[in-house]
Amino acid sequence: MTKTLKWMGAAGLSLFAALPAFAQEAASAVAAAAGPIKASDAAFAAAQAGMVNKGDTTWMLISSALVLLMSVPALALFYGGLVRTKNMLSLLMQVFMIVSVAALVWVSYGYSLAFTSGGPFIGGFSKAFLAGVSTTTYAATFSNNVYIPEYAFVVFQMTFACITPALIVGAFAERIKFTPLILFTVAWLTFAYFPIAHMVWYWAGPDFLVDAPTDVGFLWGKAALDFAGGTVVHINAGIAGLVGCLIIGKRLGFGKEATPPHSLTMTMIGASLLWVGWFGFNAGSNLEANGLAALAFINTFVATAAAAVAWCIIEQLHHGKPSLLGAVTGAVAGLVAITPASGFAAPMTSIVLGFVASGVCYVFVAIIKNKLKYDDTLDVFGVHGVGGIVGALGTAIVADPALGGQGWVDYTVFPAIPGEYVMADQFVSQLWAVGVTVLWTGIVSAVLFYALKLTLGLRPSEEAEREGLDLSEHGERAYNY
């Protein structure tokens, strides 16, 4: 979700271009009558209701289902296939339960902390337990006078809160106790995810910002561009993963024993479903089904394809053979990198971004990691952290209208108008977003991991680890052929 004062108009305008004529009339009628709608309006709810399009509602619901698909089974399989048989099930279990717990936390107080007005760093508890949310309340989009049912927005955002902590577990796979991990998840969502989501994504909304220009999250105010969560989701998870694997330590026999993926078939299924689901993640983040959503969709498609091709070419040159694991790793790197840029880039610049991200991630995953010998088991940092940073900074470039990008639009007037794009300024905004996210999540994660390590402990016994977490933590085997 791009959540900055600046760009919103892009959606706004393109919407005006895209809206059915009669709707336009309806809309401008409203506009003409009262400019932006006001919460004070007597006819407020009705007015909003009149600005909901069932095509958008369908798009948000199916996009939410697609993002859940990304977590279960996609991410679980992508990760699970890469570990040894004896730990397969523990990965599936961790992802499945993190998603479940995160969903409960989200509706309890997460949505309220992230998406209600409060300070610049965190929201309030006014919507805790979804107080006040009903089938007749609506959430703003990025277009003037366009709304979606609030429940659809709550559930779409929920799927993001579910997948982000699940991404982290790959960094310390095969060596973590289940219960402490679940506790970490709850704490990390509370102190890292919700604040950062609020900082990056909270704002008053296109029709209300005019009257409340300061009612925005901190990084939002810094005017960073992040269409679908490069900072909040990927950098956030990538850094937490890196901190985690450093604090938890290496697996037994790391570097000595060979640990080939137990099923690249599962990993390929996972990667493919991640690709499919990511369209809900990126194009769904537009919150409307219009030409801009279609742009985000095609950018997501081609950046991924380019990154997969790039990784294979590099492997061909480096090892003489392109591998499936390389192809899908590249694809995910491309998906991560295009996430913040998906609604800003043009298809051709998306391809370039995919190529670059693939190359940079390759260096971290296949070279630097092996040099530094830290055990980021499934390359959460190497792919999500690094790829997320490449994407976040690259957004400043590809968003430039001079390169066919969507630029940004000034939302402080009604209706919104295009703003003047200065790449250098934008790059600074992006640096702000990356820097704050890295520091905040790095510190919070370190504190939480240490606290758990010193209390409950994070690692199973050596024997349990050797036997595998499936049996020792869950009393099951993944396969009994």
Partner: protein, 112 residues
């Protein structure tokens, strides 16, 4: 009686089976094993991490036969399993002091 254990390359199994049939060997038991020896395995690369395993997939064949038949059985296996390249495998011959056919209780020669 002899108990013959042969380690061969997997794709040679059918040929060996035919060769044994030619020797009138009515049965055998086959196991998938991993072999460690002179032969080096393919290098596998996963995200830049290289593995060169020396554990090569092999097929282990066990055949019980009369002592007289043993030499020709060994010959037949050797001829059929040979490719001339490293890793063709081994044939081991052990003494078999007794055999029983579970279905009938027949023993020794009659059991084979």
């Amino acid at each position: 009686m002899k108990y013959i254990i042969a380690i061969i390359k997997p794709h040679k199994l059918d040929e060996v089976r035919e060769a044994l049939a030619g020797q009138g060997v009515s049965g055998m038991t086959v196991t998938e094993v991993k072999g460690f020896g002179r032969q080096k395995g393919q290098t596998e690369v996963y995200r830049g991490a290289e593995y060169t395993t020396n554990m090569i997939p092999k097929i282990k064949i066990e055949v019980a036969c009369s002592s007289d038949a043993a030499p020709s059985v060994i010959e037949a296996i050797q001829a059929a399993a040979e490719t001339g390249s490293i890793g063709d495998g081994k044939i081991f011959e052990l003494d078999l002091v007794g055999a029983t056919r579970i279905r009938t209780g027949e023993t020794d020669a009659a059991a084979l």
